[in-house]
């Protein structure tokens, strides 16, 4: 009997504690999530009654040139962004393990980029890359040429990739740095006894044991790629020739300027599925079980 009341009391306690979270999730996550599906199957303009059109929006999407352009842009962007951010963040992390003084200062200095306003640094970068900006002055003085940073599609994507990389080196570097910290020193010492070179140690010990952190950074940067908005919105407006248009820009203008939340929801679902697909693939291909014993 006493056992039973205790159990009941525990149940009540448990539910009442988790109910706050459950209610929150139901309202702010569950409800919009259900609406996303309803909207994706509807034609609506916020103002006149909504009507079901079933899969019209999906059919429209697969035949929409702009959608495929954005898919292409996103992968094109990843091609520049991921190797760049991964490489430089790794270098930053390794450098952190080497330096002895002012470590916190360096970490903070790189993290400042991560917390600064997207609008503000976009304006600074657009000055940096401007036709009369410092970069073009330099190349003009040295080689008599200017680089059309935001007028050439590949260069524009590359320039935006550089900006985003700059913003995330500190954050990703810190994740990799903590990954480096947990690799036991003893492994390196025994490898040294066996006469391993620096490169062998890096390839055979550091890289495999860093796998969990690397996968995390990789996944974060993939998810980030699908969410880019501010930099192209401020600097290129999606141009030249729609080559820097991103999913978030397309979804935003479709929902609130073209007044087509149904199609915007369809696009949002596609974006989510693509993101999930990329993350899944990355984990399948790259993630390894790691143990330090």
């Amino acid at each position: 009997m006493g056992m039973r009341t205790l159990q009941r009391r525990e149940t009540i306690k448990g539910w009442s504690i988790s109910s706050v979270y459950l209610a929150y999730t139901a309202i702010f996550w569950g409800y919009p999530f259900v609406w996303l599906f309803i909207l994706a199957l509807s034609r609506w303009n916020f103002l006149t009654p909504r009507r079901f059109v079933w899969f019209d929006n999906f059919i429209r999407m697969v035949t929409d040139d702009v959608f495929w352009q954005v898919v292409f842009n996103t992968f094109n962007f990843m091609l520049y962004f991921i190797p760049m951010v991964l490489g430089i963040a790794l270098l930053f992390a390794i450098a952190l393990t080497k330096i002895k003084f002012f470590k916190t200062f360096f970490i903070l200095a790189f993290l400042v980029a991560n917390v600064s306003s997207g609008v503000a640094y976009s304006i600074i970068f657009s000055n940096l890359f401007a036709i009369n900006g410092p970069l073009n002055r330099l190349t003009y003085n040295l080689f008599g040429k200017t680089i059309p940073w935001f007028s050439e599609p590949q260069l524009a994507l590359f320039a935006i990739a550089m900006m985003v990389t700059w913003k995330f080196i500190g954050y990703y570097g810190l994740i990799l740095y903590s990954g480096l910290q947990v690799i036991p020193r003893s492994l390196y010492e025994s490898a040294e006894l066996d006469g391993a070179t620096k490169w062998v140690k890096f390839r055979k010990i550091t890289l495999p044991l860093l796998n969990p952190s690397l996968v995390m950074v990789l996944i974060l940067s993939i998810v980030l790629t699908f969410g880019i908005f501010t930099e192209p919105f401020i600097i290129t407006g999606g141009g030249p020739m729609r080559r820097t248009l991103t999913f978030q820009m397309l979804i935003y203008t479709t929902a609130f300027q073209r007044l087509d939340p149904g199609y915007a929801s369809t696009l949002a679902m596609a974006t989510a599925l693509l993101t999930f697909g990329c993350v899944f693939l990355t984990r399948k291909l790259i993630e390894r079980e790691v143990s330090f014993v």
Partner: protein, 417 residues
């Protein structure tokens, strides 16, 4: 006895409240405009105690449009609202959300009091007027007087040839360019470049025929504008990415600006502000010298929502605000934005203001010639197409002016159709 008095008091107050009409009124979330409306609404309450105005700014959201849409979708929309731009108005009209204002018997009296007949024509939709324009920002060229003089110009270039002449003299490698021709690559930038130039070149012809679903800018005037953009880029007298504030840095001699720039320029670059010439946008060489030059009006207006149960009262309020010229004077003083009045440049009440600020006076002069954008629901797509098939190919030299123009017109016809 005490209790009876209390009961009576409560009854009278509630009766008074019941008899009272409450209008929900939203205005732009802009501190200067808020200041104006706060005073105005207070004054209304003193004079009209039986109609309460529940005034607030448009709720915070990514944009006013977004906030209003959400309010309508959730049945929380106001009775009247300001800050409505043309494209959004077209979307609201299309959905049957707005009241045609000419249905109020004294609508035309109010229009005439403000000498707004010409201005309001730009807001005609299917023969009705759903938007009451509040302010009208003509887009004007700003030229640096010092830079013009440095190459021997004592006045602003008027025609394309004069712009070329100045640009040729002033441009120098990467350092200096004649003028900024293209304002950016976002869809809204087309208001401030191609559409502005087209209005100027064509004497104010509409660039779309919304009713017949056609682009009309594919004509001799459009071609002149396209050739102008093309020439400026090919000769390197302008460039795509000019960095921030090129006008103040002396990178360009001239650019298109709205009157909202005045307050900012005054405080940030006072020396340069006192050294500018305000002029209409450049026109083709064949444009008659004595004819007024049209330009684009960045304009916002007030609308009344069709669901409002108090339309008569709402109209009374609108009339009360906009028939009193003192309110317009106060509006100018507080917001520095030109009210949509045909007599702004000529009426004595504004003359002290005009004398004080010649830049503002120049803007005021062009209000009758400033034309709002086409009233189309598809404004985003239309201007996206202008960017992609007209302006960008000309910037990068990937199409001839003729081809760019006809490509863009074809694409836009497909959207409007």
């Amino acid at each position: 006895m005490k209790r009876l008095v209390l009961v009576i008091a409560v009854l009278t107050v509630s009766l008074l409240l019941l008899g009272q009409v409450e209008l929900v009124f939203w205005t732009a979330p802009n501190p200067l405009q808020e200041e104006f409306w706060k005073e105005t609404v207070d004054q209304w309450h003193q004079e009209n105690p039986d109609i309460r105005i529940k005034w607030s700014t448009i709720p915070a959201a990514a944009s006013s449009e977004e906030a209003i849409l959400i309010a309508i979708a959730s049945n929380q929309a106001p009775d009247i609202c300001t800050n409505i731009m043309s494209g959004f108005a077209a979307q609201l009209i299309g959905a049957g959300q707005l009241v045609p204002l000419e249905t109020f018997p004294d609508f035309w009296d109010l229009v005439d009091t403000r000498e707004m007949r010409e201005i309001i024509e730009g807001w005609k939709f299917d023969g009705s007027y759903y938007v009451f324009p509040i302010y009208s920002n003509p887009m004007m060229m700003w030229w640096r007087k010092d830079l013009l003089e440095s190459v021997g110009f004592d006045r602003a270039p008027r025609t394309y040839s004069e712009v070329y002449e100045f640009s040729k003299a002033y441009s120098h490698g990467l350092e200096r360019f004649g003028m900024q021709v293209i304002m950016g690559r976002n869809w809204w930038d087309r208001w401030f470049d191609f559409i502005t130039y087209y209005y100027a070149a064509s004497g104010g012809k509409p660039y779309l025929d919304v009713e017949r679903g056609r682009a009309t800018f594919d004509d001799e005037y459009g071609l002149e504008v396209a050739k102008f953009i093309d020439t400026m880029f090919r000769e390197k007298w302008t460039a795509a990415d000019l960095g921030a504030n090129p006008f103040y840095m002396g990178v360009i001699g001239g650019t298109i600006m709205g009157p909202w720039e005045i307050n900012w320029a005054k405080t940030q670059f006072p020396d340069i502000y006192n050294n500018i010439i305000v002029a209409p946008p450049p026109v083709p060489d064949s444009y008659p010298e004595d004819a007024p030059i049209n330009t684009f009006a960045d304009t916002k207006g007030l609308v009344m929502f069709a669901h409002s149960p108090h339309k008569e009262e709402a109209w009374e309020f609108i009339k009360w605000v906009y028939s009193n010229i003192e309110n317009d004077k106060r509006w100018v003083e507080i917001t520095n934005m030109p009210p949509a009045r045909g007599d702004l440049g000529t009426h004595a009440i504004f003359s002290s203001f005009m004398a004080e600020d010649p830049v503002f006076a120049e803007y005021a002069k062009y209000i009758p010639y400033a034309i709002p954008p086409a009233l189309t629901e598809q404004y985003v797509d239309v201007q996206d197409m202008m960017t992609q098939y007209l302006v960008e190919p000309l910037m990068y030299g990937r199409a001839t002016p003729e081809n760019a123009l006809s490509n863009a017109a074809t694409r836009i016809r497909r959207i409007l159709w």
